[in-house]
Amino acid sequence: MIELRKVCLKYGEKEILKNVSLTVQDNTIKAILGPSGVGKSTILKLMLGLIKPNSGQVIIDGTDITSLKESALYSIRRKMGMVFQGNALFDSLTISQNLGFFLRENMKLPEAEISRRVAEQIQFAGLEGYEEQLPESLSGGMRRRVAIGRALIFNPHMILFDEPTAGLDPVSSKKILSLISSLRHHNNLGAVIVTHIIDDVFNVADSVAVLYQGEIIFDDKVEKLRQAQHHFIRSILSDNILEL
């Protein structure tokens, strides 16, 4: 379980997050919805301990990670997989090497087991035949699927998606969303999805938190979003896609 308690974050004089509190239960998919540049990706980085809040707590499975040293954070981060907005694939490595990279780096697994897991993710992501290609030769949707495969290969408890369908064509977006949905059904994973596309929320999420001007203005089940009265939520429900 991931919990943010009264988290405040400032970049210089700019206040990014104001007293943000939210909880992500295991085996559920939580969406964080908000306009671009409002601090949604920052929340994911806080969950991973990549940045530290100015105040408040970030609790992962009962451990407050805000006071932990970088070295102590590594074991906690390995419980979570992260799919970055730009995929963050290593461009000099092939798809297979990208998928197996962190297994070779961080887990003392036999090479046969690594190959088995890589093959499993290749199949799951529908990338058969592309194993020896470099990321640059793949389409945006395929690269996103490699990034998802790389995040899943550890068998994490929770997976964090930063704008999983941003910049993709409708067909690729649909594939990615169905891939995310299938995680819940097959792997019993929890997930946090940061997005500015409201359709994504209705398609895959169980609950949603809406971030507006650095504050959470709604945090409940997705079905209840349509009944929310906040003027910002009413406007996004009518517009569907949020842009600042």
Binding site: L48, L50, Y74, M82, Q85, A88, L89, E105, N106, F154
Partner: protein, 264 residues
């Protein structure tokens, strides 16, 4: 109006000073973390070998070109000068001291600052803006141990033989020019070189290699890690890395020479 101007200027100055000290603090911590990750060298031996090839073997041509040119030039110019005093036979001695103590390591340092430093800055900067460094951290890998420590260790190992190569090539080209331009017999040239060299001369020259390795690697890598603002940001951080490391190489060159020559 002037008061407002002075106040704004003062504020900007204070902010810049604050930013400078903050950057220095970050650089110090970055360097400390790199040295503290040395025990992980065995785990990253492949990365160290890769980096040793990049900063060592692949840098041989540029080091050779620069040291051969400067050795030849030095022989011609110093030879002309010594001829005026009737001391042409001292060419070997003066060239050897200049090359071994100063120009061999300095040129190697500047060339590697441009070649190895720019590569580090651009590569790590591109990784930073494409979130690859964040990805390493997110998946439980220490990016400093994985990316910076192998570069530093490889530079520390490879800069020494590169210095020796730079000295050797510089002296060989000087001997060649002494023979063909000044008509100084190679025997006379080398006789003026070997018997007169003392350990201090080698200490001055070879002590610079690890100092330059530390400066070039840490400054360029730190700037790569600090890259912000897309591809233009990578360009800016790469240039900053080269300019700062080249400047520091020149300053360190002076102080190492001064320190050793005054104390040995």
């Amino acid at each position: 109006m002037p008061i407002t101007f002075i106040r704004t200027l003062g504020k900007k100055l204070v902010q810049q000073l604050k930013d400078f000290f903050l950057t220095m603090q970050e650089f110090f911590l970055f360097s400390l973390r790199t040295f503290l990750s040395f025990p992980k060298a065995i785990r990253y031996w492949r990365d160290i070998l890769d980096q040793a090839t990049i900063c060592g073997t692949d840098s041989i041509p540029i080091v050779l070109v620069s040291s051969i040119s400067i050795g030849a030039l030095l022989a011609i110019e110093v030879g002309n000068l010594l001829e005026d005093f009737g001391a042409k036979t001292m060419l070997g001695r003066s060239t050897a001291l200049t090359v071994i103590r100063e120009l061999g390591p300095l040129l190697m340092g500047l060339m590697l600052s441009a070649r190895f430093g720019s590569r580090n800055g651009a590569e790590l900067g591109a990784m930073q803006i494409s979130e690859q460094i964040d990805a390493l951290r997110a998946f439980g890998t220490d990016p400093i141990a994985k990316l910076v420590m192998p570069r530093l260790l490889a530079a520390l190992i490879m800069f020494l033989p590169l210095t020796a190569l730079s000295d050797f090539a510089g002296l060989q080209s000087a001997a060649y020019m002494a023979d063909h331009y000044h008509r100084i017999d190679p025997g006379i040239f080398w006789n003026a070189v070997y018997p007169r060299l003392v350990p201090k001369d080698f200490v001055v020259g070879f002590l610079k290699a690890p100092v330059f390795a530390i400066i070039i690697t840490l400054v360029s890598s730190f700037n790569g890690f600090s890259a912000r603002g897309g591809t233009a940001g990578v360009g800016r951080s790469t240039i900053k890395g080269i300019v700062v490391s080249s400047g520091l190489v020149l300053i360190a060159n002076f102080y190492v020479s001064k320190l050793v020559l005054e104390n040995m």
